[in-house]
């Protein structure tokens, strides 16, 4: 049995390799002015998809601006913007089948926007109200949607990457031609989970696409202190995986690269690593202040490479988009976000019982007892628990209705 793939002849002097002889280029199609580079083939992106893609990028920008402002006004506890990285996230999502799985990190709301996550769904999660399917258990921006094939976000970094490999292996066995896209930052790619995910995907020939958003910083840590090698793309070679580096601010290039990656994954069971070179234009989160670790000048240079403007110009040139149309759209999106936010703020908090449900498929007896003790406590001190006490009676009536099948019968007869 061979213990290596190498067919190199033995040498008789110590020869070390550091990989510097492999140079990975950046794949890019659109110039910053929105025209195509000479030599760039005609993009395969069609009109409707291109419009849908750009619309989702715009939506994401509007949502982020509005919600960061809301956070600054104290209406929201926390927020994270995708600003600057919309092309990387939405461009990749647009290249997938809408039923392909997406396992994102936390800055990928653009993917949800592309797939049609409603403003109401965004707001209900952000405000952790009764409309949030996860019952206000997670911090803002931890969205999830089963019907849109988007795994609920988990804050611990990189945990979703090996899960994507496993999920995609299951998709391969199911044989319906679907794949999984794992999205993560270059910081998360330092976690052990990243390496485990790539190795297993390669060994088991799994239809998974790993999309790294190399946005320059993991909170304050610049890439120069994150890794010494040639970015993240080069790591694929160690696992004998296909790898491509793409201009992450060029939606067309991201789209084309991901489309081909998807073909490799689904048709040839070849996992792919994509490194999208981009920049986090905003702070890491509403709790962060980038002025402590990077210069305004650096930010300005990247602002000039804004992914939205680049794609917009290309669309305008093709006659696939109108400036008036954009003005109206942005105006109406702003209104929609604001109106929906106001409604979400006023929606009541989740029922007290949601504290103990979903821990297990059924609430265990000991936990039920803890819950009943809590209910009695809240009843004794309603003034101390304004988020649950006002609705206790209504919630318990609902619960009784759920638990009593005859009550449902009665309802049905009515």
């Amino acid at each position: 049995m061979k213990t290596t793939r190498s067919t190199a002849k033995p040498v008789h002097k110590p020869v070390f390799a550091n990989g510097d002889d492999i140079q990975i280029p950046v794949f890019t199609l659109l110039k910053p002015d929105g025209t195509l580079y000479a030599g760039a083939g005609q993009p395969s992106l069609e009109r409707d998809t291109a419009r849908r893609l750009y619309r989702a990028m715009l939506y994401t920008r509007v949502l982020d601006e509005r919600m960061m402002a809301a956070q600054r006004q104290g209406r929201l506890s926390f927020y994270m913007q995708c600003t600057g990285e919309e092309a990387a996230v939405v461009g990749a999502t647009a290249a997938l089948d809408d039923a392909d799985m997406i396992m994102a990190q936390y800055r990928e709301q653009g993917a949800l926007a592309y797939r049609g996550f409603t403003t109401e769904a965004f707001m209900d999660q952000l405000f952790g109200n009764q409309g949030d399917p996860a019952h206000g258990r997670q911090m803002p921006i931890h969205y999830g949607s089963r019907e849109l094939y988007y795994l609920t976000i988990s804050s611990p970094l990189a945990t979703q990457i090996p899960q994507a490999t496993g999920y995609a292996y299951g998709q391969k066995l199911a044989g319906q031609g679907h794949c999984t896209l794992a999205i993560f930052g270059e910081g998360a790619a330092s976690e052990g989970d990243f390496h485990a995910a790539l190795n297993m995907a390669s060994v088991h020939k799994v239809p998974v696409i790993f999309l790294c958003r190399n946005n320059g910083y993991a909170i304050s840590t610049p890439v120069t202190e994150q890794f010494a090698g040639d970015g993240v793309a080069a790591r694929a070679f160690g696992y004998r995986m296909q790898s491509i580096r793409v201009d992450g601010n060029d939606a067309l290039a991201v789209y084309e690269a991901t489309r081909e990656a998807r073909r490799l994954a689904v048709e040839e069971n070849e996992p792919v690593l994509i490194e999208a070179m981009t920049y986090r234009l905003a702070a890491h989160s509403s709790s962060d202040d980038p002025s402590g670790y990077r210069s305004k000048k650096e930010e300005e240079a990247w602002r000039k490479k804004d992914p939205l403007r680049r794609l917009q110009r290309w669309l305008l040139d093709r006659g696939w988009w109108e400036e008036d149309e954009e003005r109206e759209l942005v105006e109406s999106l702003r209104r929609e976000v604001l109106d929906t936010m106001k409604r979400a703020e006023k929606r009541r908090p989740p029922a007290l019982e949601t504290l103990v449900t979903d821990v297990y498929a059924e609430v265990p007896p000991a936990l039920r007892e803890q819950f009943e003790t809590l209910v009695a406590h809240v009843r004794r001190h309603p003034e101390a628990y304004p988020r649950s006490a006002p609705w206790l009676d209504a919630d318990q009536a609902d619960e009784a209705l759920r638990d009593d099948p005859s009550a449902h019968d009665g309802e049905a007869r009515l």
Binding site: P156, G187, S190, S220, L355, V359, P364
Partner: protein, 325 residues
């Protein structure tokens, strides 16, 4: 003496330790130029250079494994894990390595110089991944010392003791108090004893035991109880393991009643261990069952955080139940 908040006291302790011993190193995610996401390591890189205070790549298992190696070599690493919730990728390095280095080699090798710092606990609207209190997982691992300070003065003295302890220490910092807890802190180098609980208020009727941010909560409950004529003795456990049975037991022998409170879930929480030991030590002196006031047996929530938390009202009710038993 200087007035400091808990973060400044931590920063001051690290500064003191690095100034006193060139073998002390501070590292972790964002701890370099930025000084950590909470700024606990502010200006340390400026003062001691990039070789002694630096950013690491984003990999907790790497940070602790690296720290284990440094400690084995004779350095004194103080590794920061950004949130206690993110310590779990390093669980193997801590539980199977840090805790057993000395034992498995018969003291040929040890990682006694190791300190792992991590902010823990709720009350900051952090949801389940920025609020957990994982002390019980580590308390179940012989070989580890787990320390939790309650205020700035304690934080400096205990952290300096942890850094100089001959055993690896996990130092959980109550992040809710980082800026909220302010107090007088000696400017000089001092240590407070590990493995020793502290009676912070003497009382006759009932013993209240807590650690970290929860000490403030039981103090508030005690004030309410005092108004109702109940005299409370309050103990800060300070070191979770190896824990100070004597101080707790002698208090309970006097009061005959014990309420233990922590934010972590009830089942398997460290209060269970305390209750078992104290009932065996003080059985004939107990006037009522030992009560536990803790988080629920659920992950940490967000919107209903207050309902989950073992707040002063819940502790106060437990005091009453225990008195009226």
């Amino acid at each position: 003496m200087s007035r400091m908040n808990l973060l400044q006291a931590i920063n001051n302790a690290l500064d003191t330790a690095m100034a006193a011993d060139p073998r002390v190193l501070c590292f972790g995610e964002d701890v370099g130029v930025f000084g950590g996401v909470f700024r606990a390591t502010s200006h340390l890189q400026e003062k001691y250079g990039r070789e002694r205070c630096f950013n690491t790549p984003l990999v907790e298992q790497g940070i602790v494994g690296f720290a284990n190696g440094l400690a084995a070599q004779g350095s004194v690493p103080v590794a920061e894990i950004q949130f206690a919730d993110y310590i779990f990728p390093a669980f193997d390095q801590i539980v199977n390595e840090s805790a057993k280095f000395r034992y498995r080699s018969g003291s040929l090798f040890d990682v006694g110089g190791l300190t792992i710092r991590a902010p823990y606990g709720g009350g900051i609207a952090g949801g389940h991944y920025h609020s957990q209190s994982p002390e019980a997982y580590f308390a179940h691992t012989p070989g580890l010392t787990v320390v939790v300070p309650r205020n700035p003065h304690q934080a400096k003295g205990l952290l300096l003791a942890a850094i100089r302890s001959p055993d690896p220490v996990i130092f959980f910092e109550p992040k809710r108090l980082y800026r909220a807890a302010v107090g007088e802190v000696p400017d000089e180098d001092y240590q407070l004893p590990l493995r020793q609980a502290e009676v912070i208020k003497a009382g006759e009727d009932i013993t209240l035991l807590a650690w970290g941010a929860q000490v403030e909560v039981v103090e508030q409950a005690a004030e309410m109880a005092e108004e109702a004529g109940i005299s409370c003795e309050i103990i800060d456990l300070r070191t979770i393991v190896p824990w100070d049975v004597e101080t707790v037991a002698s208090s309970v022998l006097k009061t005959g009643r014990l309420v233990v409170s922590h934010e972590a879930p009830l089942t398997g929480g460290f209060a269970a261990e305390i209750a078992a030991t104290i009932q065996s030590r003080c059985f004939l002196y107990l006037e009522s069952p030992i009560a536990r006031v803790t988080g629920l047996d659920t992950p940490f929530p967000l919107t209903l955080e207050k309902e989950y938390m073992p707040g002063p009202l819940k502790v106060f009710e437990a005091i009453h139940r225990t008195m009226d038993f």
